[in-house]
Symmetry: C2
Subunit: 358 residues, 2 copies
């Protein structure tokens, strides 16, 4: 028997959340409980070892069911937040049953038959989904792309140079727990002033990271790709190009992990087709949906992860024109990597699809 | 009476260390004790409230004397590490007495009559000092410039886009103590996952920083300059141009503070006159004096502050050619901001001057 929440919401599409018990899944359930309710039933799906657990969504307890083909019976839209290989196997299974899959893994993002959608930037792309699958971008791309999309629409983007300051929750619960453990080892000590002292204190307890992340920054995220690039860096480049519809855009990226729990930050050097002004950029950012302009250094106002965590928008500060290039802007951007960076954008895409059922 | 160490080293120049009791001063004394000894007497000078303290240099106890005009009697070379306004007042006083001043403040760096010297990059500039003052660059500039100087000499630099990951000791002992206090507040907690929770825990205890720095990154260093730029960002641009002898070089910079005790890191996007190869860049970096190439991501090798702290060289990793521009390289660079970033480079400049006395 499949436990279903929301009986009585007839006529509305049925949603499945696949990967409901993960770090992003937990935020998804929060968001589903907070957003205007467009869904009929909501079914929670996870790995067999999580089946039977009860989770709360929209104020109701729902029992988690195991991921099987039958779990998709009667489902209209499914949001997947599971590892790449699980999505690669199961998203086509669901799609073959007529379910529209919104997938937050890396499995389909660069598939030319799968749109990669950010509702504030390219909402119409959601309808062009020959495989029945819509992809959600990587959290690092998502933490900046809404702001860049707004500026691109006005000024025409020509080049991006991006550096990330990525939070540990981008590596999941294990990333968060690893930083917490390491912080307990270094707090109240004099560590961080002698060669290798942090490494010796942390030992092999580096969790999902290649180096200690407490009192450190680590210029690596993801796996090794060609020519020394990391998979995370390639994602930011390739996904930005696809979302913005600029397949030739030059994008240079370096991804760096920092000891922050949640919220990715990025510095952005963006060059445009012609001359830009700070005033023009600020006007666009101040009115763009999904963007908060928080930029008054004289009053100590610029976004930091400590203030942005738990919020939905992309926060932008430190807006400056390049001193030596009137066509370029410098920005500092923060976005909650679990909300807009993952669960929120996935939910927004699913809501775009739900509107088709109206 | 002035207490002087090293009596008997006659014929060698006399050195004064002004600001001997500060964070950088402590590292200066270490370095003077470790380097080949080119100095005769070494005199330690500080503010009147520190006069009478005894510090160890070259294995000998030396009493600190107060900063007065007489303190420079018989001194040949003086290394200053004091606030800008103290240097602005006292460096000309010492220079008027014939002392060659090597100054680590921001007071003279952009003075056209004061050379700004990095011994690996522009050693000859040290002799052109009409005011008798030589300036030491800012720690952020110094953390990358040796590597960039080597690449520039071969390839010809055309543009820089730089983002910093700056350690708290760049803001002095107060910066370090502030992070230590904040770490004790956040360790063992669940802070960092809800909006404003770190800020509430830290309260007003943000020390020299405008925001909490534990579990956070803060896109601000220095004071507000024109058009939203920070003084630290302007220093990196202006000083890089002066040291490299490229007064028109486009340099875009965003400076960000991170919860690291010591060692500044930077991501660098560097565009050159013509096509570059990773192999060529690696060969230059592997043999450049003062540079360590540590770049093998397949083996988990890239520099991080935890390993670089306490060492002298500029460490370079993540060397990649831009995917969309064969004339550009991406680098991740780390340098100890208290050693090469301050005390070491100052000592190296002073040693260049000492050689003139031989």
């Amino acid at each position: 028997m499949v436990d279903i929440a929301g009986a009585g919401r007839t006529g509305r599409p049925t949603l499945a959340v696949v990967g409901a018990t993960g770090a992003v899944g937990a935020v998804m359930l929060q968001i589903l409980s907070q957003h205007a309710d467009v869904w009929g039933d909501i079914r929670l799906i996870a790995s067999p070892r999580s089946a039977g657990r009860k989770l709360t969504v929209r104020g109701e307890e729902v029992e988690v069911v195991a991921l099987t083909e039958e779990a998709f019976d009667g489902v209209d839209v499914a949001m997947f937040d599971v590892p790449d290989e699980v999505s690669a196997q199961w998203a086509p299974v669901a799609a073959a049953k007529g379910v529209v899959v919104v997938d937050n893994s890396g499995a389909f993002r660069m598939d030319p038959d799968v749109p990669l959608v950010v509702p504030e930037v390219n909402p119409h792309a959601v309808r062009m989904r020959p495989r029945g699958i819509v992809a959600n971008p990587n959290c690092t791309t998502l933490s900046m792309i809404v702001a860049l999309g707004a500026l691109h629409a006005e000024f025409g983007l020509r080049e991006l140079v991006v550096s990330s300051y990525q939070a540990v929750s981008g590596a999941g619960r294990d990333g968060v727990e690893t930083l917490r453990r390491q912080l307990s080892l270094v707090a109240g000590t004099e560590l961080g002033t002698n060669p290798g002292d942090v490494r010796r204190a942390v030992g092999d307890d580096t969790g999902p990271f290649p180096e200690p992340v407490a009192l450190n920054v680590v210029p690596w995220a993801g796996s090794l790709r060609d020519d020394g690039w990391s998979s995370e860096e390639m994602k930011v480049r390739d996904e930005s190009r696809k979302i913005l519809g600029l397949p030739q855009l030059p994008v240079a990226v370096t991804c760096v992990r920092v000891p922050v729990i949640t919220t990715h930050s990025l510095t952005v050097h963006a060059r445009f087709e012609g001359e830009v002004t700070v005033e023009g950029a600020r006007e666009i950012l101040a009115t763009a949906p999904g963007v908060v302009l928080f930029d008054n250094p004289a009053a100590g106002e610029f976004p930091t992860p400590a203030d942005v965590v738990g919020t939905d928008p992309t926060w932008v500060g430190r807006v400056r024109r390049a001193l030596d290039d009137p066509t370029a802007l410098e920005l500092f951007v923060c976005g909650d990597n679990l909300r807009k960076g993952a669960a929120l954008n996935t939910a927004q895409i699913a809501e775009l699809v739900a509107a088709e059922f109206a």
